[in-house]
């Protein structure tokens, strides 16, 4: 099945959140990248049917998701950025509650819940209160709830925010495992997360699709445009104002700057292999070096 996003636009008062956004998504993991306020969450909410676009439509399998209604929600899994829970809920109770809202019967949900809790590593904590769980465990529970109905479309909004590096690695592996055969859209502004698990990248800025393609292509586009140079520590901030600096490392010998520029910024600068982060900064025009 294909998820077609067709020229959708959304405006909040005088701010354009999404502007004629079009893309066709086949099963695979898509990393939705963009700076804060780029329109990622609005896009995700529209895809989930929580917000209606001012113009344009979304089609799933050739049918408008508006017309599909609950049939679309049947195949949808969603993990919002900040998901809530009732304070008295235990892990098991929460899963049972969401399963019932997803229209699943008792027997199926019982089996599915234990299966999912095992996948996300919460099989030993079904009776634990959600409020007592760590941030990582809570996020894993969020993922588990989104998977209850075996969704064909899985939307994860900033799932790795607030997780420590170990939890993030675990989480990335988990998403990679569960997203097989599904259309998974993963919104984040942590570029490294996307580079590890996404098949394709959707780069959004000012509500528009800046780039759609694989990670390799995106980094290829900035090949020969990323430079490394050693400068005096005092000069570093001045250079960061004039150039796009993706990394600044102060050492006793001076500051090692990673500069993104169409031309060689300094005589002593040497071209280096670009990373996804460099490509991201290049396309969004954000200046990593500025404070």
């Amino acid at each position: 099945m294909v998820l077609d996003i067709d020229k959708i636009s959304k405006r909040y008062k005088d701010k354009i959140a999404i502007n004629r956004f079009s893309v066709s998504l086949h099963p695979g993991v898509y990393g939705l990248l963009g700076p804060n306020g780029a329109g990622k969450t609005t896009l995700m909410r529209i895809v989930c049917g929580l917000t209606r676009p001012d113009s344009g439509s979304i089609f799933y399998g050739g049918k408008s998701i508006h017309d599909l209604g609950e049939q679309y929600r049947k195949i949808l899994g969603y993990l919002p950025q900040n998901f809530g829970y009732y304070p008295n809920f235990t892990v098991q109770r929460y899963m049972e509650y969401i399963a019932s809202l997803k229209g699943l019967n008792r027997n199926f949900s019982k089996r599915k819940i234990s299966e999912l809790l095992e996948i996300v590593g919460l099989q030993k904590a079904p009776k634990a209160k959600i409020s007592s769980l760590s941030g990582g465990m809570r996020q894993r529970l969020g993922i588990a709830q989104s998977m209850l109905n075996d969704p064909d479309v899985l939307i994860l909004d900033e799932p790795t925010v607030g997780l420590d590096p170990t939890e993030r690695v675990k989480f990335r592996n988990l998403i990679s495992t569960i997203s097989q055969g599904k259309i998974t859209i993963l919104s984040t502004h942590i570029v490294s997360d996307v580079s590890y698990i996404a098949d394709d990248i959707l780069l959004v800025q000012h509500g528009e699709l800046q780039y759609f393609g694989d990670v390799q292509q995106l980094t290829t586009a900035v090949e020969g445009k990323v430079w490394e140079v050693l400068v005096e520590n005092q000069q570093a901030n001045k250079i960061a104002q004039d150039y796009m600096v993706s990394n600044m490392h102060h050492t006793s010998q001076g500051a090692i700057l990673r500069i993104i520029s169409d031309h060689k910024p300094f005589q002593q600068a040497k071209a280096i292999t670009p990373t996804l982060e460099d490509a991201y900064l290049f396309h969004t025009g954000e200046r990593g070096g500025e404070l």
Partner: protein
């Protein structure tokens, strides 16, 4: 006797290859999985209603229990119709006190987004929740009317209608507040609910509720409740226009 020979000849013409046990197990497992996928939505509505029922907070049940206790304490001492009506006007608003916080719970605890992306729409969830809590109140009012009617030889239907007057008004006000007031703090919600309850208890001082005009007041309260439900349905229709999920 039936001649089954031709049938046996026919099936023996297509010998079945004996499969290994692990292959059989695998086939059975796949069939079970397929069957469970096909039947996973059977009985979903019952499960949905049951879970909504289970998610009603303990505070609500505690209040119902207290109200019932209040009724039991006053049961034998309250004899006159006027006094029963006063008792109804005191107990019923208290009974409906926690409906509003119960309905707003989804918003307080940030469950809105996840719930709205689920199969059962927020409107259905709200309707079921409302029906469950109202049914519980209605049941208690029914028991009270029945008990008073039998014990004091009074018209049970009249008692039920008199009991439903504060109930209908309370439900109507609850829906109106739910539709028009955006509350994000549980404490603010409890305050509003407490204020409404106290205001409703003051109906005890309205003499027209206690004399013969009660039937008119009853129908008025039914109309008010229907109006409030109508407004809520329209509000949700508007919400449906704004997003697919509702």
């Amino acid at each position: 006797m039936k001649d089954n020979q031709s049938f046996y000849d026919f099936i023996s013409a297509y010998p079945i290859v004996k499969a290994k046990d692990c292959v059989k197990q695998d086939t059975i497992k796949k069939a079970v999985e397929l069957l469970s996928q096909q039947t996973k939505y059977v009985g979903a509505k019952q499960n949905f209603v049951l879970n909504q029922f289970k998610s009603i907070s303990k505070v609500f049940w505690f209040i119902q229990f207290i109200c019932f206790l209040l009724f039991l304490v006053n049961f034998t001492t309250t004899q006159r119709l006027k006094d029963i009506q006063i008792l109804f006007l005191t107990i019923v608003p208290v009974m409906t006190f926690y409906i509003l916080p119960e309905l707003f719970k989804t918003q307080f605890y940030n469950m809105e987004e996840i719930e709205a992306a689920c199969f059962f729409s927020p409107f259905k969830t709200l309707a079921v929740k409302m029906t469950l809590v109202s049914s519980c109140n209605f049941l208690i009012i029914g028991i009270m009317s029945l008990a008073f009617g039998i014990y004091h030889q009074l018209d049970i239907l009249e008692l039920l209608c008199r009991g439903l007057i504060p109930f209908n008004i309370s439900i109507a006000l609850t829906i109106i507040v739910f539709d028009f007031i955006k509350v994000t703090s549980p404490y603010a919600m409890l305050s509003i609910s407490a204020f409404l309850t106290l205001a409703l208890i003051q109906m005890r001082n309205f003499s027209f509720l206690l004399d013969n005009t009660w039937l008119g007041v009853y129908f008025g309260s039914v109309l008010l409740m229907l109006l409030a439900i109508g407004i809520m349905v329209i509000q949700f229709k508007h919400m449906e226009e704004r997003c697919y999920g509702a």
